[in-house]
Each structure stands twice: as C-alpha cells, then as structure tokens.
Symmetry: C2
Subunit: 333 residues, 2 copies
C-alpha cells in the first residue's frame, strides 16, 4: 500500500508538501505541485481515509438510521440520501432498528465509536424519544419525521400529512363524489383523516362513521378486508380514500372481487406514491410525498451543521402533491 511518505520520497519533497498539494492549499510552487502530482499519479496514491479521520476528526461518513429498508419508502429515502450525501463526499453507514429502541441505542453506540461525522435518522416514533440521547452523543443529526409527534429541540424535516389527506379528499370531492369511504391505518393516520374531513367539510360533506373503516393489518391484505366490508355494507359509496397506497392496492382488489370497475363504478385514491401504485392496472391516483426534497433538505441541514459547527433546531414542512392517474374519474350518474 502506497502512503504519503512514498509519494514524498518519489517527488523529492516532504510529507507536508504532499499533504498541501492533496488538500489544494495554495501555498505550493507550481512546479513543485506538478512534480508531486506526477508522483501521485505514477504511484496510484490515494489518501487513507482512516488516518485522515483520526488526524482531523472528520471521517466523511454519516450514519443512516432507519426502521427498516424492507419498506420501500425507507429504501427509496436511503437511496435519495445516498445520492445527496455522495455529492458532498460522504459515505454512509447503514443501521436498521426494526423499530426496537434498544436496538437503535446499540447501533448509535457503535456509530459513536466509529466517529461518524453526523447522523440522519428516520423517526419511526421510537427514536424521536431519544432526542436527548442523541444530543448528548455530541454529533449533529437530522430527523426525518414520520407522522407521529414531532420532537422539539431538534432539526426536523417532515411531511404535512394533514395536507396529504386534504388533497386526496379534495380530488374526490371535485370529481363530484359525495358518498366517500375511508379505508385507513387508524389511529396512526388520524392526521390524514382529519385533513380529508376538512376538505369535504368545505363542500358540506361529512363522512359517515359507518364509512370509516380501520384496517386490521397495515398492508394490502388489510386494505382488501376493510374495503370488502365497507363496500359490501354500503354499495352506494362511489369514492374510497385509502390512507396509504398499500391499502389502496387492496381496495382495488376488493373492487375487482366485487365486480366493480375502477374508475367507472368506483374511484380510489391513495397516499404516498409508492412505486407499486404506478404498476397496477388501473394505475392508482395518489398523493405523493416529496421524498427527494426530504433527502435534499436533510443533507443540506446536516452539511450546514457539520460546516458551521452548530445545529439549527426547527421543523421544516414539506408539501405533498396530488398525482392523478387512472383510478379516479368524475362521478357520472
């Protein structure tokens, strides 16, 4: 393995000068610089990041703490973050917690010993309680918050879930739907439901309690079951809002099972915009969360904290957007 010393020897200068060249310090005479650069190229030298990290206290690694990447949402967030962080020269150490606080703590302990520069964590509602722990660990961090309570005193980037519900319901309302059912991951998605109710209230529509169906499990299957129930009991429903896309996929299946054509007989709208939502037939109209903005903002805040040396607490709200596809249409009758 070739080191600074080898390069210095070859170029006939000291390690210091080589270091100056590498770090682009404008104190090296042009011809010296060129000699050093030639030696670097000839030897194929690349700095040992470990040694540099030890010397400078900067490892150029950031830790990513996620509940699970088996959930496409987090997987995509990780990829977006990786791209953003890469541009800034950072590599990522990945830790998944499976929502287990004790596991999260252990992972953080290890990251601390590795002296990563900073941390981006997706709040699954557990880690948020550890803001104190995180703060006392001493390195900058940014929280990508889920729908659960927004922790204070931290730098947080989060989505406006109420607005998402609002947009989904507003869309159904504007298409003329009046008898609307909700298939939802409740009470977790309470805020989304409230947003929907707000949109409908503007047209003096209320969702009958009998039309609001909490799912047994938060999956496609759960959406299927809930939709089978509500659509069988209340066939007059013309629009269904699912509080997330996986449920919407289940609603689609229930509609097929019951012989109701989507969107001709039934409009279905979801929230999240997972990839699968655009893979079904018909493709699902949904409300997209700007994941890429979340990645970009989080990176921006973290890098700022890293460079300035101090963290700027506060909450940044990201606005969701309606994506109209094929599963919704104007009420005809």
């Amino acid at each position: 393995m070739v080191t600074l010393k080898d390069v210095a020897l070859r170029a006939g200068v000291t390690k210091q000068t080589v270091s100056n060249v590498i770090n682009k310090r404008p104190v090296v005479k042009p011809d010296t610089r060129e000699r050093v650069e030639r030696a670097i190229a000839e030897l194929g030298y690349t700095p040992n990041l470990l040694a540099r990290g030890l010397a400078t206290g900067q490892t150029m690694m950031v830790g990513l703490v996620m509940p699970t990447i088996a959930n496409p949402f987090y997987a995509e967030l990780v990829e977006d973050l990786e791209r953003c962080l890469e541009e800034e020269g950072y590599s990522i150490a990945l830790c998944t917690t499976y929502g287990q606080p004790e596991r999260a703590r252990r992972q953080l302990e290890i990251l601390k010993r590795r002296y990563i520069d900073g941390l981006i964590l997706a709040d699954d509602g557990n880690v948020g309680h550890d803001v104190d722990l995180l703060t006392e660990m001493g390195f900058p961090f940014v929280l990508c918050a889920s729908e659960t309570e927004i922790p204070s005193g931290a730098t947080v980037v989060t989505f406006d879930h109420g607005q998402a519900g609002y947009l989904a319901a507003q869309h159904l309302r504007d298409l003329g739907h009046r008898d609307i059912a909700v298939v939802g991951d409740l009470p977790a998605h309470r805020v989304r439901l409230e947003g929907a109710q707000r949109a409908l209230a503007e047209a003096s529509i209320t969702i009958a309690p009998s039309r609001i169906r909490a799912t047994r499990v938060s999956s496609q299957l759960g959406g299927f079951e809930a939709a089978m129930g509500v659509l069988t009991e209340h066939p007059e429903v013309t629009g269904v809002m699912a509080t997330h896309d996986l449920l919407a996929l289940g609603v689609l299946q229930a509609a097929a099972e019951l012989g109701r054509r989507v969107p001709e007989d039934l409009s279905v709208v979801g929230i999240d915009d997972i990839a699968a939502a655009n893979q079904t037939h018909p493709a699902v109209t949904t409300v997209a969360f700007p994941k890429q903005s979340m990645a970009r903002k989080s990176t921006e805040f973290l890098v700022h904290a890293l460079k300035s040396g101090r963290q700027r607490p506060g909450v940044t709200w990201l606005r969701p957007e309606l994506v109209v596809r094929e599963s919704t249409s104007r009420l005809t009758a």
Copy 2:
C-alpha cells in the same frame, strides 16, 4: 472524549495494561483487571474504532455493494446480511450502483480508501466482470450472484434458478395442468424457463412457442400486458408460470380483467417469494429463494476469509423451495 490514557491514569496503570484488559488478553492480574474495569465503567470509556483500525488494519466494517435497494429482494438481502454481520461485530457501509459499472468502480475506490475489511456484492451482471478489479484491490469479497453468468475464480453464493423453474412447472404439472403458458422476463430468465421445460418434459408436455410471452418491461405492468396477450389469444390455457413474482401479480390482474377466477379457472405460479406475493388476494403460490441462507453463507465465507487471511474460491448453490398458497389448484375437467 475519554481515551485509553484517561483510563490508564485513573486506574494507575499504563495504556498497555488497559489495552490488554479491553482485548481480554489473559495476562492481567485479577485485581489489576478489576481496577481497570472500574475505571472504564466510571469514565464511560469506549475504544475509538478509527484509531484501532489504523493500528490493526482491521476496521470491522464491511462494504455492501448492491444494484439498488429499491428492489425489495436486495433490500431484504441487505437486512439479512446486516443481522448476520452484526453478530460477528461488523458494521456495514452501503453502496448502490444502479447497475452502472462506472459508478460501481467509483464506490469501490472509496471503500478501498476507507480500508474496510471485506466486501459482499450482489452481482447484477455488471460487477461480475470486475472480479479482476476486485481481486487486485486486495481485500476479501463474496459475490451473491444473480442469474447471469457465474464468474469464476471468486467466492460465489448463488441460487439454482433452473431448479426454481423446475419446481414451479412441476407443481402445475402435478396439479394436472397440460396447457401451460409462460410470462417471462426473457431472455434474462432463460435458465428458469429451461428448468420449467425440463419438468414438463418429464410428463411429455411441451410448451408451445405461442404460449411463451416475453414481457416488454420487467414489472407488474409487463406481466399484465403479456398475460392479457397470451390469455386472450389462447383462452384454453389453464396454468401460467411467471418467471418472477412481480409478473405474477400482473397476471393476476389480467385474469381479473378477463373475468377468469384464480385459481378456479386459472392457476398462477411465480418465483422469488417477494413479500407482496403473500399480500394479494388470492395469495400467490411461488418458489422461494433462501435469501437468509444466502446472507448466512456469504457472511460465513467472508468471515472465514477475514480470519484465515485467504479466500476460498468456489460456487455454493442454494436450493429454492416451493411455497403453495392460493393461486394454484388442481385442474378440474
């Protein structure tokens, strides 16, 4: 930040002795050991992994190079690997390549500079060509191979894709199906198709070329389109094998669209056993790849190479397993 020195000072010994205690070298007198351990606890000392890495050449990090974790298969593999590696004390640095060789090369370059201990890469058919590059980089690596050509000279863990196709088709065959269609990601999944043909040949069944449909895109939508085509043109088909589960989901949708009940009118079998396959209604019968075994084996080989100091080239084949769910049934008249 508390260091070895602080502990040594507090315990009234030298750094060497503290190091001996930490590394559990059985050369420390019991009461000295206890004194040191008390000091460690009181100070809350944990070794700086960066410094240790520089001194020993062991960072206890392994790099994971994956095409993308947006594909649930790789995401789950990463999680399984994380769990296995964690048990051995390793953290993971994640790199996604998006199947771009040039990107992969850049990522490897950075990992090299970080002096990770070893590498596990999922072969997306690109990285396999870089066995030479990898070998010359000098650290141990294990390849989790995809269906494409198996690189030689490396330590490889892979699935028997032919066997997967065999099991899927054998299942349909044993249920009495004779007119079988294939919806496939071809030619990529050629080996799976050949396995299927082998199983059917045992019962003197051949798949008519008109029944083999390559998908336009390798997604649920692609499966839908291909199935619509083949089922419309050949309504006498009673069983469909999809070369992977995402396609099978599309086949299910096509069946619904065409008013054919699954499994009463049509049996559908997939391959992969992605989570979604067990979320649909009906749940998809499929052939599962033992991802966890892949993670365990890969970790085992890597750790062995790390400890023994040399890599043992060779290919390990992992056998898939049939998982019977609701989308297949015996052919009735």
